[in-house]
């Protein structure tokens, strides 16, 4: 047998030209075709399961070499290849079209890819996305569901999930596959959480998310929208009806800057700005009835993934955009790909600027932001970022639109439940993600403050396992009693 030839360079995925894409909300990355995906799959070294650094790096432990192998195995039969690859992915992750797009693969599965020692790392994210997209387009996902669903052994125990975002949906997928009767309680009118309201269409098309929700429904999951836990129904009431509860309510409350003028018109939290545009489709106003106002000059404050989403959204709505960050470029927390995309689209970056005042015009609309110039110190903080201090020098930048993307804190409606222990706004959990109330588990931003989609999904999966163990024990106790 001939030795496999190493292909050092990554097979690129086609992208929409930046000059065109700033005028539309269509997806930027166009993804692999079967031929391209196959070529990329050929590059994989197929590390053994127990060793593969990609599996170890994945918070939901997908058998990555396994699904890539299927793409190679059935080279003559793309449908079969994708079906078998999807079967492997679904064992750990029922939302692959989403994670293939929004996971920070470079810090997780791809980080320690062995191929990286001799060339480019395998493009695992785009391969995962390919499998999910191809399956959806060809109806292979439905076919696979028809095989899986009848085999699920239904259990009588019921689980309530609070919040239909990444953490909740992952827990739901796992629990539904195990046969539990699962109901999701979602406050908004559409399920998906940050996948629907936060991440823009050009990065994660909403039709993709909706199809993944459809998969969950077919697994037997009930989704109750318009239900705000803490108002419509309380945690105590859920515990009367359900055998276990998982809280994945996210980091629902935006943080504002404590500076004069912060409530001027034209100043949005990233949550409001993105919710108007994504969930309510304000970019299609007046066909869609929710408006958004973006002027000629927008400043986005913050430099995380949400800030990039806001900047690129404002750009598409016609503004010149500056991202202003109080630290330096090395401490930008957004993914490199997002920063690159933003730059390609003409977003400018200004570093070491800390907002101190928002200046308004005579109608109460913001017209400029005053910043103090900051400078870095050698010392680093607990997160490894360089500490900064003010210089006493100030600069004023014009802006008729400001988006504040400096983070969020946990939703207080649920956190104020009696008996539920909370620390600095986030829910306290033990190593099995159980909260201070027996049978109530939590994960995602509700316990982390603010993190990523995939960490939330990792929690969802871990919590599902813990819930399964908890309910199994409970069932056995009841049967022996």
């Amino acid at each position: 047998m001939m030795a496999r030839k190493l292909i050092r360079e990554r097979i690129p995925t086609p992208e929409q030209d930046p000059k065109e894409r700033i005028f539309n909300f269509n997806e930027v990355n166009l993804g692999y075709t079967f031929e391209l995906a196959q070529k990329e799959a050929e590059r994989c070294l197929q590390c053994p399961y127990d060793y593969a650094p990609c599996i170890k790096g994945c918070p939901v432990h997908i058998d990555i070499p396994g699904f890539i192998k299927k793409l190679r195995e059935y080279r003559e039969d793309p449908d079969k290849a994708v079906k078998e690859a999807l079967r492997i992915i679904w064992a750990c992750n029922t939302l692959p079209a989403t994670t293939g797009r929004v996971c920070p693969q470079e810090d997780q599965c791809e980080m320690n890819c062995v191929m990286g020692k001799v060339g480019d790392k395998i493009n695992i994210g785009k391969l995962e996305r390919f499998v999910a997209d191809y399956a959806r387009e060809k109806g292979i996902d439905d076919e696979l569901l028809s095989e899986i669903v009848p085999k699920i052994e239904r259990k009588s125990q019921k689980v309530a999930i609070i919040g239909a975002g990444p953490a909740g949906l992952t827990a739901v997928g796992e629990l539904a596959k195990m046969g539990y009767k699962v109901t999701i309680f979602e406050a908004l009118h559409e399920a998906g959480g940050v996948l629907m309201y936060g991440i823009p269409e050009f990065r994660l098309p909403k039709a993709v998310v909706k199809k993944e929700l459809e998969t969950l429904r077919r697994l037997g999951v009930e989704i109750k929208t318009d239900h705000i836990v803490g108002r419509t129904v309380t945690l105590e009431e859920l515990l009367e009806e359900y055998d276990a509860v998982f809280i994945g309510s996210g980091a629902g409350t935006p943080r504002f800057i404590n500076a004069p003028g912060v409530n001027l018109n034209g100043i949005y939290s990233a949550n409001e700005f993105l919710t108007r545009v994504n969930l309510m489709r304000a970019y299609k106003f007046p066909e869609y009835e929710t408006p958004v106002k973006v002027g000629k000059k927008a400043i986005v404050i913050g430099a995380g993934n949400t800030a990039m989403d806001a900047a690129r959204t404002a750009r598409r709505l016609g503004a010149e955009v500056i991202v202003a960050y109080r630290r330096g470029e090395e401490d930008v927390s957004a993914r490199e790909e997002e920063v690159e995309h933003a730059k390609e689209e003409g977003v400018k970056f200004e570093f070491f600027l800390n907002p101190v005042e928002f200046i308004g015009d005579e109608n109460g609309r913001v017209k400029a932001v005053r910043f103090e110039k900051m400078k870095p110190l050698e010392e680093r903080d607990s997160r490894g970022k360089r500490k900064i201090v003010g210089t006493g020098e100030y600069v004023t930048l014009e802006a008729d639109t400001v988006v504040i993307a400096i983070g969020k804190t946990a939703n207080k409606l649920i956190a104020s439940t009696p008996g539920l222990e909370v620390n600095k706004g986030v829910i306290k959990v033990d190593e099995n993600l159980m909260t201070s109330i027996e049978g109530v588990f939590a994960g995602g931003d509700a316990i982390r403050g603010e993190a990523t989609v995939i960490l939330a999904m990792g929690d969802g999966r871990k919590a599902a396992k813990a819930i399964h163990e908890y309910l199994t024990k409970k069932r056995e106790e009841q049967e022996s009693a």
Partner: protein, 290 residues
Amino acid sequence: MYKILEKKELAMNEIMYKIHAPHIAKKVQPGQFVIMRAFENGERIPLTPVTWDREEGWITLITFIRGRTTLRMNMELNEGDYILNIAGPLGNPAPMKKFGKILAVGLITGIVEVFPIARAWQELGNEVITLHVSPNPMVLLREEFESAVSKHIVEGFDLKEGWGMDEITQELVKRGVKKVKELIEEEKPDFVFTVGPAGGQKMIFNIVKEYGIPMESDLHPIMVDGTGMCGACRVHVGGEVKFACIDGPGFDAYKVDWDELIHRSGFYSDKEKLALEVYLKNLQAQGGAQ
């Protein structure tokens, strides 16, 4: 999906919808509101349940036809039709305690929000006087108030030809301020409560302030989600940023930054006008085709 059980025009442009929404009916308290989305491409708007039946599982909402959504609801939704989404109850219930003598003021449709709160205050043993300031054709719930509170006063005025919303609001404020002053002198209330457009509430507050009477106002800034997630409804209260949806809707009128609230409430008025015009144009085009 929530079924419209009954629809009725209570007064000019004031439409009542009785809706099957057991999840709201079971929990709602006076002072709380819901967020409703009537159409697939529709906006989320806050509305206040006026009456409800916990056992039968219905609530009533009253809309004043002003913009595209309320007009479109009236044009397109009838008994037997469904409303896509109603989320809630949201916000904090009104403070249910004994204040003594209460003057509760509703400007135009603001009065519908006063109703459940005033009735509950009266039942609690307060002496409640309600004042409805409104153009005469839009006066509503008169009998309901009369049987629920100690005294119900309607300060009505006729609409003049060519008046738009601006002129109506001006007249409303002028009448409201005058009547409130009179009532404070005559009735000497221990507590004042208001619901209505921010500009009108501010003017009433300016009078009440002169007498130093404690006052609370329900605020209606623009909202999107209504669950504390977006901060669109934020307003400075006592120097702190508060969200009307989760910290309110009722606030101490003495602490509210009224001018900020007025500015913020008007931010989208041009867009709202455009949305309405586009809808009217479509209606005309459809009419032409028939």
